[in-house]
């Protein structure tokens, strides 16, 4: 990774195991040394299934390097919570964006792109493009 200021990636799932595993998968596939910062925000703080605004905000702050943060989400309340936090205006770092992308494929595309030093718009486009790859 050439630039010091990489786009951060936050992965929000209803399950801590899913968010953590997808982060590991993306890091493994982005490979080749350092990757852009990625953080998992899965489940509730007590380890249950659900969405935690607290974990999402902490994850976004953790990966924020000043170049923007791309947030990828799985289902229902994860989508709604991130949208509600963005509407708050001051909960998430400046330049945080909810990315409309498939969770696993989008996470890999986003991290590979961010690790190559791309800006937030390019990261978002790469993640969203994962929708275009049909499997059957």
């Amino acid at each position: 990774m050439s630039a010091g200021k990489a786009v951060g990636i936050v992965l929000v799932s209803h399950s801590a195991a899913v968010a953590g595993a997808v982060a590991e998968l993306a890091k493994g596939l982005a490979g080749g040394g350092d990757t852009a910062p990625v953080a998992a925000a899965g489940g509730t703080p007590d380890g249950g299934l659900g969405t935690s605004a607290e974990l999402i905000c902490a994850a976004a702050r953790e990966v924020d390097r000043g170049a923007g943060v791309a947030v990828l989400v799985d289902l229902g309340s994860a989508v709604l919570t991130v949208k509600a936090l963005l509407a708050e205006g001051d909960e998430l770092p400046d330049g945080t964006r909810l990315v409309d992308a498939p969770f696993v494929e989008g996470a890999v595309a986003a991290l590979v792109t961010a690790s190559a030093g791309a800006d937030l718009a390019a990261v978002e486009a790469a993640a969203a493009e994962a929708y275009d790859y049909r499997k059957a």
């Binding site: 935690s52 605004a53 289902l75 919570t81 708050e88």
Partner: protein, 198 residues
């Protein structure tokens, strides 16, 4: 006129109602959802009651924006951002006024309900909380009791509907015949208002 003290009593009454009805909400949610609506709202409104005790906001708008923010940060399900957005947007709309009229609340609540519809991408008839809230806002122009009755009727009217939003939508036609838990809790919120202000 409705002041901050009344709005706090509204939130306390909602916390009590959610406590009382948590079992029923979860039962409704176990039919078509993931069986956590009662416990999620219980946790959320208990946190709302606690923060209102501590911070004592001085205006109706302050009470609702604080309550909404608390719901977004403490509820681990979709009801957190949805109810949080409802109360926050309504609170912001009420602004800094020390007290508001029923008509002003009806108008602000209409804005809040619009924000919920936008957040969830739902409309009337989708078998969501909107089916209780939309008729309640309209009836609130007449009286608190009318709003409560309209919300109750709206919640009941979700029984024959097919869910088009949220987890229940995956069930398709199997969601028909069950009352929507979100519309039911929304009716509790309007009922709590009628209880303290009616």
């Amino acid at each position: 006129m409705l002041d901050a003290a009344l709005f706090r009593r509204w939130m306390y009454a909602m916390a009590a109602a959610v406590d009382r009805e948590a079992g029923r909400l979860t039962e409704l949610d176990s039919a078509i959802g993931d069986a956590d609506h009662g416990s999620n709202l219980q946790r959320g409104f208990a946190a709302v009651a606690a923060v209102l005790e501590k911070e004592e906001p001085a205006t109706p708008g302050g009470v609702l924006t604080l309550a909404g923010r608390q719901l977004i940060s403490t509820v681990g399900g979709a009801s957190g951002p949805l109810y949080g957005t409802l109360l926050r947007r309504t609170g912001k709309e009420l602004g800094d006024a020390a007290s508001v009229s029923r008509e002003e609340l009806a108008s602000a609540l209409g804005t809040g309900v619009g924000a919920v519809a936008q957040l969830g991408g739902a409309q009337a008839g989708d078998k969501t909380m909107l089916d209780a809230l939309l008729p309640a806002v309209e009836a609130l122009g007449s009286s608190f009791g009318a709003a409560r009755d309209a919300a109750d009727a709206g919640a009941l009217a979700t029984v024959p509907l097919q869910a088009r939003k949220g987890r229940a939508s995956y069930l398709g036609e199997r969601s028909v015949g069950h009352q929507d838990p979100g519309a039911t809790s929304a009716a509790l919120l309007v009922g709590a208002l009628a209880e303290v202000a009616g």
